[in-house]
């Protein structure tokens, strides 16, 4: 038995139930298994345990909706290193790069073993932001363009290095790490569950609800507690509200980048309306403070539910007008169609997830493959999948998902009688000892995975976070290959990835 099989809805797993296998056996199994696209890694990390550095792999089986967990303890003092899984399937590249950076583990045959985010506790302190080994090409007709870490707009920092032949981009390399705040370490430094919930919200501030839901879900699984139906429903509404707000923001930002002011201002106003709806519910425009373990201080009243329904109906109608007109605007189509294409095969190889993967025809959507919360029974989610993988496909994904999310909110709230009180949050619930708990939540960008390990006293000693951006930054680098460098902004906006979610 190489794997312990569980599901996204099951409670935490005892560490002793997770098999400890030989790396070579796991390697050989994955080399075979990863040929089937139903499998992809949710997380792969190493943690210091009593037995030494223990590696954990969480592999998702999309067809059976199962999570396969395996672990191994390699001989740390072995000089030989380990054969790299990246060479077998490139989707492992970020995880192996992270472990190499943190612990100095050698993965033999890793084709791109570069620093990932320059964390403060990295093994090689001589490796710094300034010495990032950018890929080089030489030739008298080539030139390099460096953008960042500070960008022209009001956004987070990250460095982009282009190698161009005239206007055409031959290669883009993205160096991140400027946003590294040490979130995972802070998560284990405190046993104040409220503080951890707030840290969860700030993993990526534009995905506060989804990351806070992931934290709450993980803690609830660790305590074996059951969460009431009303709370699940309200979390579902919050998650879809966040999806609507961010998809509308991206629609507006894409319109701005091609100078289409009408769509831009219409979307700005609609986004304001959406986030003000969230604010009228919980007091914060990004939903911070709304999601807490075991309960909520902002239960939906009948008035608030009616307010959300009427606002969302209005937003849906007005956004649909924008959507329909976009598809009939030749100047918009001329910029977006066949621009920044990521073919399905490439998306599959690099392990792309979420909205961007679905725009390329790859169905990666935890709401349908590994249901959680409202998607287990209240909503039968039907994922939207596009084929072309260009900027237009990523835009149309957002357009369709806004309408779908609006319908979900309507169905969750129509006939909802918030009579049975939602309990108050609890921060003092004892957690299972010597256990591994994970949560998988589909945020608006895609797959979010939180994993925690507890010690013999039930304290969280290891916390790992994966934002979908971790996989998808490479998709952006591939999307701009062969494009004019002036199309970079729209390619970038069409992904709108998180810097702090990557850098942690």
């Amino acid at each position: 038995m190489l794997y312990h099989i569980t599901r996204n809805t099951a409670s935490a797993v005892a560490l002793k139930d997770i098999p400890t296998v030989d790396y070579i056996d796991l390697y050989n199994d994955l080399a075979e298994r990863m040929r089937d696209e139903r499998y992809h890694p949710a997380h792969y990390f190493a943690a210091q345990t009593a037995e030494g550095l223990r590696f954990f792999l969480l592999l998702l089986d999309d067809r059976e909706s199962t999570v396969m967990i395996s672990s191994f303890v390699p001989d740390y003092y072995s000089e030989e290193g380990m054969p790299s899984l990246t060479a077998v399937h490139p989707s492992f590249h970020v995880f192996e790069r992270e472990m190499h950076e943190l612990y100095g583990i050698r993965f033999n045959g890793h084709p791109w073993c570069k620093p990932l985010r320059f964390p403060w506790d990295r093994r090689d302190k001589n490796s710094t932001m300034d010495s990032y080994p950018f890929y080089k090409m030489s030739g008298s007709s080539l030139h390099e363009v460096n953008v960042g870490p500070i960008h022209a707009g009001i956004i987070e920092p990250g460095a982009f290095r282009f190698i161009c032949n005239g206007e055409q981009v031959l290669h883009l390399e993205i160096a991140l790490g400027y946003q590294h705040r040490g979130v995972e370490r802070e998560m284990t430094r405190t046993q104040n569950s409220l503080r951890r919930a707030l840290l969860g919200e700030s993993v990526a501030g534009d995905t506060a609800v989804a990351h806070a839901t992931a934290y709450a879900d993980l803690v609830e699984k660790l305590s074996g507690g059951h969460v009431g139906e009303n709370l699940v429903r309200e979390r579902g509404v919050a998650l879809e509200l966040e999806r609507i707000a961010m998809h509308i923001a991206d629609t507006g930002a894409l319109s701005m980048d091609i100078g289409f002011q009408l769509f831009q201002v219409a979307c700005e106003a609609l986004r304001t309306m959406t986030i003000n709806t969230t604010q009228a519910w919980c007091g914060n425009r990004f939903g911070k403070g709304l999601i807490r373990p075991f309960g909520s201080f902002h239960p939906l009243t009948a008035d608030k539910a009616a307010m959300i329904r009427s606002n969302i109906a209005d937003i849906r109608r007005r956004y649909n007008e924008v959507r329909l007109d976009m598809k009939e605007s030749p100047s918009l189509l001329a910029r977006f169609e066949q621009c920044g294409v990521v073919p399905r095969e490439e998306m599959l190889r690099i392990g792309g997830v979420g909205t961007a993967a679905r725009a390329s025809g790859l169905l990666r959507d935890l709401r349908s493959t590994h249901p959680f919360g409202v998607y287990t029974d209240m909503i039968c989610h039907d994922s939207i999948v596009k084929r072309h993988g260009d900027v237009m496909a990523r835009l149309m994904m957002r357009c369709r998902e806004v309408l779908q999310s609006a319908d979900y909110i309507e169905s969750l709230l129509s006939g909802y009688e918030p009579a049975a009180a939602v309990p108050e949050p609890r921060y003092d619930v004892p957690l299972a000892a010597d256990a591994l708990s994970f949560s998988l939540v589909e945020g608006w960008r895609g797959e979010i995975c939180h994993v925690a390990l507890t010690d013999a006293r039930g304290s969280i000693v290891k916390y790992k976070i994966k934002d979908p951006s971790l996989h998808n930054w490479l998709a952006l680098a591939l999307a701009v290959r062969g494009e004019g460098i002036s199309d970079f902004p729209i390619c970038n906006k069409s992904f709108n990835l998180s810097y702090c979610g990557h850098d942690l």
Partner: protein
């Protein structure tokens, strides 16, 4: 096609807020806290213990908004002692003015701390360069929103600019990560004098949740003169607009 666009315009209607000084936020919004002492400090001590950033001190009873994440949990622990109002006017010119004392019913905005040249040179036009040094994107989006169709702060001559060379000041967000400290310094030095420095968000004011993190290095800020401190997680666009307007006001 033209009908589609006309329909969008019709639905869009008029969006800008005519008078920004009269904006009132929803009652749910957590802005300036009001502290009350009633002789029994047990609730206050519980609130201080649960506060994720240690913003509350029970003796004497104060709340440091520069650390506060505005989660509102303390007001649940001590409802008789702590109450969050929807007052978004919480910017200050001095760091110590962010500390709210028991019984205090309004923010202190100390105009005497504003340099004359700031008022003289920036009251008609103010261009700012934003630098995120660990900001979590929500605060950056809120700063972007100050210029959107609803708030339209640009009508008063305040806007964000791409190049520090074109800027009159810097808006800092985030707790200042080690990896970003050098780029922040280079950007600040590229801004011509006279310049202002606005520290935006509780994480920028104090480090927030990351104040103790090894990945954060706040030494850059120690030797800088800060013109405006803006708490919030994230800072609401109206907090920014209100405080910057106060800063530029001619006496």
């Amino acid at each position: 096609m033209i009908f589609g666009k006309l329909r969008i315009l019709h639905s869009h209607g008029r969006q800008y807020i005519p008078d920004l000084s009269k904006v009132e936020l929803t009652a749910e919004f957590r802005g300036r806290p009001v502290l009350t002492e009633d002789g029994d400090s047990r609730d206050i001590e519980r609130a201080a213990a649960i506060c994720p950033t240690g913003a509350i001190s029970p003796h004497p009873f104060t709340l440091d908004m520069g650390r506060c994440m505005f989660c509102g949990e303390c007001a649940r622990c001590a409802p008789r002692n702590i109450r969050f109002t929807n007052d978004y006017r919480i910017g200050a010119t001095r760091r110590e003015d962010l500390v709210i004392a028991a019984g205090q019913s309004a923010m202190r905005f100390d105009h005497s701390a504003v340099r004359d040249e700031v008022r003289r040179m920036f009251s008609r036009s103010l261009h700012l360069r934003e630098v995120s040094a660990g900001g979590d994107a929500s605060i950056e989006m809120e700063l972007g929103a100050t210029g959107n169709v609803n708030f339209d702060f640009g009508r008063f001559g305040v806007s964000f600019t791409a190049s520090p060379r074109h800027a009159d000041g810097l808006v800092l967000t985030g707790p200042i990560t080690k990896n970003m400290a050098e780029a922040l310094d280079i950007c600040y030095r590229a801004i011509p004098e006279p310049k202002i420095l606005i520290v935006c968000g509780s994480e920028a004011c104090s480090g927030g949740l990351f104040a103790e993190s090894e990945a954060v290095d706040r030494s850059w800020l120690d030797s800088r003169r800060v013109d405006l401190w803006l708490p919030g997680a994230p800072t609401h666009p109206m907090t920014f607009i209100d405080a910057v307007t106060s800063l530029r006001k001619k006496r």
